[in-house]
């Protein structure tokens, strides 16, 4: 793309230097693994909420969602609204407080305490592999973006991302990640609002946008599309997305939940997740509107041959010099905020759930801090090496998404029963998780839409867990105290145990 001017380049380089400087400030606060992985349990609610959204929105979402809106219309916003908000509310009120009270570093660690070590191992390996593979994809995306917009060689773009994000994530841990996420989210919104204002000006305001689009695409302002829609059938959006995939993402995803585990209080943990619903509701302004502007201004002309070109087209054709650089910085910010969170979460899972639990159990805290940092560096190097491989396998991102939908439903069922049903046993949890993944595999092989795969694997996992639990010995009260909803609400002794756990005395 040839629309980048000197002022744009200046803005981009200034951002990269500023975020590097800002992120490394926090290295002096890192003395323990709790500092590194959980920000010393000092994060206030407003940082958590902005960090959650920064983590959630990646460059793929920008480009892919704008393309989705260009092709299917406002139905794309379901992923930000019904496919997120109710699940975030449930996560804030039901799941987050129990993870936080359990005093754990990871979701697999919670499952290990609630069920058994096998459930923890399976979840840790699945999430550990997923997060590490995702890094390579993110690095490749950053190289492509810098190449497309600035003309830099792809390898240079990958290296710049790796160096900037790697340095502040290795030195500052979750604190640096969360604080830079706040800055990055602000940049994303400034860039998105700039696009919205200029876009509306070009199309003649909201009424101009609606009349231009509905003239050729009357379905584009409908949130629910008919069942024969290949991508967004309304029943799948409700049962698959809203009831399963979304709760699984917002209640069980390590890179999302980890911010709440670093909260300074239980209220901050809950409020952080809940307040994130407000910026989340506005995300379609950033990711859906550009697709509409492209459709309204370019139509189905040959200028946009692939829907994913909608957003680059908007930047190239709508934004003046300076603003294009700002919006491009918003892309980089979106990408960085996802890369740093994935990096930190991958290091946390591999250090706490794999290394500390199965390789070296009784080392000093300093040892695990060093291991966490070494693993972070190793994952940066891995991401750089793995990134070009993703180019050789174009379907790899889709494959990763499919892998995620394989175990998201079963994971949600396992966590949901673990948190809410005291009768769920360790063997019920294990059977439900393994059986649910098996159901996913069978349905996936039968080429069922992934939204329905998620729903049926969730339902199957839930049923298997309940049946096996009812036929196996109940867990002793002392094992599950403080980890199950009903028990915490009623028992004063459990409250005391939780307080000890949270204060690190247990």
């Amino acid at each position: 793309m040839g629309g980048i001017h000197g002022i744009d380049l200046f803005i981009i380089i200034s951002y990269l230097l500023a975020i590097l400087f800002f992120g490394t400030i926090f290295r002096k606060y890192i003395r323990t693994t709790e500092d590194f992985f959980l920000a010393g349990k000092m994060l206030p609610w407003w940082v958590i909420s902005m960090s959650i959204i920064g983590t959630n929105i990646g460059a793929y979402d920008y480009i892919g969602a704008a393309g989705g809106a260009y092709r299917f219309g406002i139905a794309q916003a379901n992923y930000e609204w019904i496919g997120a908000i109710p699940a975030m509310v449930v996560s804030a009120f039901l799941f987050v407080p129990y993870y936080w009270k359990a005093g754990v570093y990871t979701v697999p660690e919670y499952l290990g305490k609630r069920y058994n070590v096998y459930v923890r191992l399976i979840e840790a390996i699945l999430w550990g592999l997923f997060l590490v593979c995702l890094l390579g994809i993110f690095f490749w995306a950053s190289g492509i973006m810098l190449n497309t917009y600035l003309g830099w060689p792809i390898n240079v773009g990958i290296l710049i991302t790796a160096i900037v994000v790697g340095i502040y994530t290795v030195t500052g841990g979750l604190t640096a990640v969360a604080i830079t996420d706040v800055v990055q989210l602000m940049v994303m919104f400034v860039g998105g609002i700039a696009v919205a204002i200029l876009g509306f000006w070009r199309v003649g305001g909201w009424s101009g946008l609606v009349s231009k689009i509905t003239a050729t695409h009357p379905e584009h302002f409908k949130l629910f599309l008919p069942l024969d829609n290949p991508v967004y059938p309304w029943l799948g959006m409700i049962f698959g997305l809203a009831f399963v995939l979304s709760p699984a993402w917002w209640c069980c995803n390590q890179s999302i939940i980890q911010r709440t585990l670093g909260a300074k209080s239980e209220w901050d943990a809950k409020a952080g997740m809940l307040f994130a619903t407000f910026p989340k509701t506005l995300i379609p302004l950033l990711v859906v509107l550009p697709g509409f502007f492209a459709l309204a201004l370019a139509g189905n002309s040959s200028q946009i041959q692939n829907p994913d070109q909608a957003l680059p087209w908007v930047i190239k054709n709508i934004l003046p010099p300076g603003l294009a650089g700002l919006v491009f910085v918003a892309f980089i910010a979106a990408l960085h905020s996802s890369v740093d969170s994935t990096l930190n979460s991958a290091a946390t899972v591999w250090t706490k759930d794999i290394y500390q639990r199965f390789i070296k159990r009784d080392a000093s805290d300093k040892h695990y801090l060093i291991v966490g940092r070494i693993l972070t560096i190793a994952f940066v190097i891995w991401g750089v090496i793995f990134a070009p491989v993703t180019n050789k396998f174009p379907g790899i991102y889709v494959a990763m998404q499919n892998l995620l939908s394989f175990f998201q439903g079963p994971t949600l069922a396992t966590v949901l029963l673990g948190v809410s049903w005291r009768r769920a046993t360790q063997w019920g949890g294990l059977a439900g998780l393994v059986g649910g993944v098996g159901i996913s595999a069978v349905l996936f092989a039968s080429k069922v839409n992934f939204l329905y795969v998620a729903w049926w694997s969730f339902a199957g996992s839930l049923i298997i867990n309940i049946i096996v639990s009812l036929f196996t010995k109940p867990e002793p009260l002392e094992k599950i105290q403080g980890l199950v909803y009903g028990l915490v609400m009623k028992d004063e002794n459990i409250q005391n145990i939780i307080n000890k756990r949270v204060n690190g005395n247990e």
């Binding site: 609204w81 109710p86 804030a92 009120f93 008919p226 029943l235 409700i238 409020a271 619903t277």
Partner: protein, 67 residues
């Protein structure tokens, strides 16, 4: 069976979505006050997370009724 699903009007999507959002609001208000404020520095009204949840879910209901 497929015909049964295909014949359900799209309007039912809006009804299900509205009931879903409304159900989450009601569920949130069944959380005890002590549980909501646990860990909060004070019990000021603005810290009542059930109010936050209600506000954002009402916004969702409006969006799904409009579009």
């Amino acid at each position: 069976m497929n015909n049964f699903w295909a014949n359900i009007p799209l309007f039912w999507g809006k009804i299900v979505a509205t009931l879903f959002f409304g159900g989450v609001i009601i569920w949130a208000w069944f959380r005890p006050k002590s549980y909501i404020f646990k860990g909060a520095p004070d019990n000021k009204v603005w810290r009542d997370l059930r109010i936050w949840a209600t506000l954002i879910l009402i916004v969702q209901i409006i969006l799904y009724l409009v579009f």
